[in-house]
């Protein structure tokens, strides 16, 4: 099978990049982004979302905007982007988030959004899947996806909530 070797290679590359970032196997010291930009596909009619709508989508509650069903994609657990997003949007710590999803499944509700790791892959998914929505470090933004304002605030605005 080619997959395991590919993944191992990806992980090793990821570890190398992590070391460059200052994260060591002994403890997490990942640099957290100062803010996150919420992205949708370029062809999406969505330009602005309220924080409540964003929260609903990422709590796996069925959410529509402009008659488009939102399909959320998360960063991996404990990644700096995920930690910041969960704190600012869901109002939960990583431990609370993990417990929340276990409780939701036992309650019989849907599980958490899918996880896509890596900005490039995430941009590709969001660009190609109608309704897909996710978030990025603004430095990873390119023309394949569209930034969404939150509550009318651009991610450069001082009152932008996901910072």
């Amino acid at each position: 099978m080619a997959l395991p070797s590919l993944h191992r290679r990806v992980c090793l590359r990821g570890l190398g990049a992590g070391l460059l970032l200052g994260f060591s196997p002994g403890g997490l010291a990942l640099a957290a982004p100062a803010r996150l930009v919420v992205i949708v596909g370029q062809s999406s009619p969505i330009d602005n979302l309220s924080l409540g709508t964003l929260r609903s989508a990422f709590l796996a509650q069925p959410t529509e905007q402009h008659k488009v069903r939102l399909v959320p994609f998360n960063a991996p657990p404990n990644s700096p982007e995920r930690v910041l997003f969960d704190r600012r949007v869901l109002g939960m710590s990583p431990e609370e988030v993990a417990r929340h999803w276990v409780d939701q499944r036992i309650r019989g509700n849907p599980g958490p959004p899918r996880v896509v790791a890596g900005a490039k892959l995430l941009r590709q998914v969001v660009a190609r899947l109608p309704g897909a929505i996710s978030y990025l470090d603004p430095e990873e933004l390119d023309g394949t996806v569209k930034a969404v304002t939150i509550g009318g605030y651009d991610y450069n605005h001082k009152d932008y909530p996901i910072r």
């Binding site: 099978m1 997959l3 395991p4 590919l6 993944h7 290679r9 990806v10 992980c11 590359r13 990821g14 990049a17 992590g18 460059l20 970032l21 196997p25 002994g26 403890g27 997490l28 924080l51 409540g52 709508t53 929260r55 609903s56 509650q61 069925p62 959410t63 529509e64 069903r69 991996p76 657990p77 404990n78 710590s93 431990e95 993990a98 417990r99 276990v102 409780d103 939701q104 499944r105 036992i106 309650r107 019989g108 958490p112 959004p113 899918r114 896509v116 890596g118 900005a119 892959l121 998914v125 660009a127 190609r128 899947l129 109608p130 309704g131 470090d137 430095e139 390119d142 023309g143 394949t144």
Partner: protein, 510 residues
Amino acid sequence: MIRLRTLLRASSLSSLAICALALPAEARAQSENPYDPPAAEPPSAETPAVEPAPAPPPPAEPEPTPPLPSPDALVAPPAPPAPSAPPAPPAPSAAPAPEAPPDEQLDEQLMAEIGAELMADHSVNEPRLSLYGFADLTFYKYWLHEDSGFRSLLYTESAFAIGNLNLYLSGNLGAGFRSMAEVRFSYLPNGSRQVVGGEIERTQTDAVDYSNLGEERRTGSVLVERVYLQYMPTSFLTLRAGQWLTPYGIWNVDHGSPTVIPVVRPFTISFALMPERQTGIQAEFNRNLADDWRLSATLGLSNGKGSVDEYADLDSNKAVTGRLQVTWRTQGTLQLGATTYYGRYTDLSQSTELNGAGVRIVDHVQVQFDELAIGFDILYKLGGFHLQAEFLSNQKRYTARGRPLRNAVEYWPDLERFGTYGVVGYRFDWLGLMPFVVGEYFQISNNFEPARPPDDDGVIHVMSGLNARPTPNVTLKLQGQVALSASDLPAGSALEHPLWGLQSQAAWAF
């Protein structure tokens, strides 16, 4: 064809496991949450540290990329792969044709995996089954007076007990349909006790195993907790048909032992002042009212309560359930709910009597009453702080032909009961430790001492202890409990003496 998600995702899971090895222990603990879908792995070149920090992003032209299938439109089987272009003849004496860089090959492969997952989630031809559940082991010790009536329900000897082994079977069927089932594997009815004519009889289910001659096995049972087909035509409407948990309060639907804070749920819940589950249809509306407010309304129509309500309605009188719930999320989460249930309970026996040349079946109503139940609940969470409370009331009004005898000289009167409980706790980060206190007051009908009036007896119940979640999937509990009567009881009453108990429990989700 149904196939397990676990098998489908084997490759992704293996990659997760490999990645986990490269993470510190703290990070691994979070990554191992089985309910977080496996991540597609990142190409390392995308990490910000290896790229120069760009200024505001240039308005690059989006690359023309083929779209993935929309989840709403995924009802058709996966399209066959596009025929690959015929291989170009190799140029003589030239270097091999350049292949796509490994990173791009990887991305395309991962994109294909994600597309396949989305397709499988929503395809009518390839529904996927998810298996998960929870279980628990409890160690208990009760101290009961020798005259206590609780001795007919509880053993005073300390013991270990497997309480729940619940399995969930959930599957997306495509086009907005979903199947959901939860079953509990139980040792019951073995060991259950009943008072029969002054004797306490215990059910034994020992049976000789014909395939291992001489070996005796005890048979148990499978209890259907819920099973329904769900259809979501829009994002704000969900329809369910089957057997569903009555959507009242907090701990009736959220009944899994890993999520319930004390070892046992309060008596207010377990005494079923509101039916625990019903068989019928249900519609649930959800709508964001404002940025931070979400309204949920549920309406159900069912057989109601009855002696065989899972598949028969002995009075053809359908029960109605309604619930309104408002959730407010800003500084913490506040949830307020109100539920009402109205239905008729009927239990009847049948006999035959001669009818000319044949016989006919005659119904004899044994018990029949109209029942109205009303409940209110509140849940507030802020950081580690947890507050929840429920109030339930129940009114029974017997019909003229369905009022049963209470003893030799009187019939049962109409009954009104209520129960209420509150929980306060605070969960610390360290081991997810939560000290908690549960206080409860509830009423039980006096159906065990016919010499006393049938008035409802009040009971005060307190549980207090520690609940720890060292990982999200494991809950450890230790608590003490006491229940004592709040009514003026005569000497010799079964409820005169308090119940003291100490319990510990390990509950886990898998």
